[in-house]
Amino acid sequence: MDGITLALTASWEALPYILGGVWWTLALIICAMGLGFVMGVPLAVTHVYANGFFRRLVGLYVWLFRGIPILVQLYLFYFGILAWLGSFSLLAPLNLDSAFSAAVIVLGLTSAAYQSQIFRGAIQSLPQGQLKAARALGMTDTQAIVSIILPQALRLAIPAWSNEYSILLKDSALAFVIGVLEVMSRTRSVAATTHQPLPLSILAGLIFFALTWVGIKALKKLEDKVRIAGYSQQGSL
């Protein structure tokens, strides 16, 4: 067999195994984006509406998680903090010290920092009058934020959010360093045994490329679906 046939055969044989990693990759991003969303929204609301102390606290959080590389955080959390937390029997059921949890926590906490800034920008881009009108109707600030501000801000945030998806997808490939069996990790191990890094790294690239593309298309669909009639012109970020 010549080189090219050999390379293609190796890739073909490894394909099912590597594609199996897509589930782990997807699980990682969905959990991390969810965690980032659940934390990012309150962080953004705090950043916009809270007083000096809490606002600075959010600022500190964002500075920390945007400043430390994902890779360093993965080592810090997986081998350090979470391994230590996992040694408490009380926390054992949470399985915090598994590689998957560590990756979700690191990607999620970092994404929360970025998502909070996305939502903050969206909230601040809304006209001041929206909050004022809600208050004038007798709504509490909480009611106004939940029923008036967030439904609009979250819609505006979708384009930036789809960008966050593609960043998170690419960052998720780093989870291989702590042994999560996602696409990159499987590619590496197959490449190491078959000595075919060239076709396999191209294959991995194609898989990630396809996932980016599909995800962005899906979020575009979502954006169109929740679009408010006639709203887009004024609602661009």
Partner: protein
């Protein structure tokens, strides 16, 4: 506490300082190359001949669409398998890192440059040509200096990203900050302490870089010329 401090000062900090130097040796050339590639690719995407613009678009979507770690892996492990006329290119870990970071960063930088170029009014180009500038001259001397100022906040952000992603070089055995940290952590089993200090190093790097970039932005600022696109 004291013991912790001694450990940090005696073992971790000196080692990390050498690692920091290696990181800088990767970051600076990669950032400069990245900006150069970004300006070239961005300009070609807007003003280049159709096939060139298309080729640049393809380059950008390819490098933005795949993880940097996959690209790094390609340049270091896979490239040597490609033989061009019986000649194989083998990059050292340092070189592979710089090439990977510069090419990836350049793809992102070109997005900001392109956005900056598109934000400059058509009249600028027309006016330059009316004064007798050649098309190339008018883009280089008139449009690019304005576009670059518009693109600067984004380009600066991209350099910050590059600083953080330079940590990936440790995956292909470069002993930069993260690599050195990993080494000490493995040897001493003090993961939390060591990686916290590594984190602090990056925070300082990133904060100092943001400060410098902000200064640069202020220095290049033209009165009344909005550096944030108003359109």
């Amino acid at each position: 506490m004291n013991e912790f401090f001694d450990f940090i000062m005696a073992r971790v900090v000196p080692a990390l300082n050498t690692g920091l130097w290696v990181s800088v040796q990767i970051i600076v050339p990669a950032a400069l190359l990245g900006v150069a590639i970004g300006v070239t690719a961005g300009t070609l995407r807007v003003y280049g001949a159709k096939p060139l613009a298309k080729a640049m678009n393809f380059y950008v979507s390819l490098f933005r669409g795949t993880p940097l770690v996959v690209q790094l892996y390609f340049w270091y492990f896979a490239l040597p398998y490609i033989s061009i006329g019986g000649f194989n290119i083998v990059l050292s870990p340092m070189m592979a890192s710089i090439v990977a970071f510069a090419l990836c960063s350049g793809a992102y930088q070109s997005e900001y440059i392109r956005g900056g170029l598109l934000s400059i009014k058509k009249g600028q180009l027309t006016a330059a040509q009316a004064l007798g500038f050649t098309p190339v001259r008018s883009v280089v001397s008139i449009v690019l200096p304005q576009a670059f100022r518009r693109a600067l906040p984004g380009c600066g952000n991209e350099i910050i990203y590059l600083i953080k992603y330079s940590s990936l070089a440790s995956i292909i055995t470069v002993n930069e900050l993260t690599g050195v940290g990993r080494g000490i952590a493995k040897a001493t089993w003090k993961n939390t302490e060591v990686f916290m200090v590594v984190g602090v190093y990056y925070l300082i790097l990133v904060t100092v870089a943001s400060f410098i970039l902000k200064q640069l932005e202020n220095r290049l600022c033209i009165p009344g010329f909005d550096s944030n696109r108003s359109s």
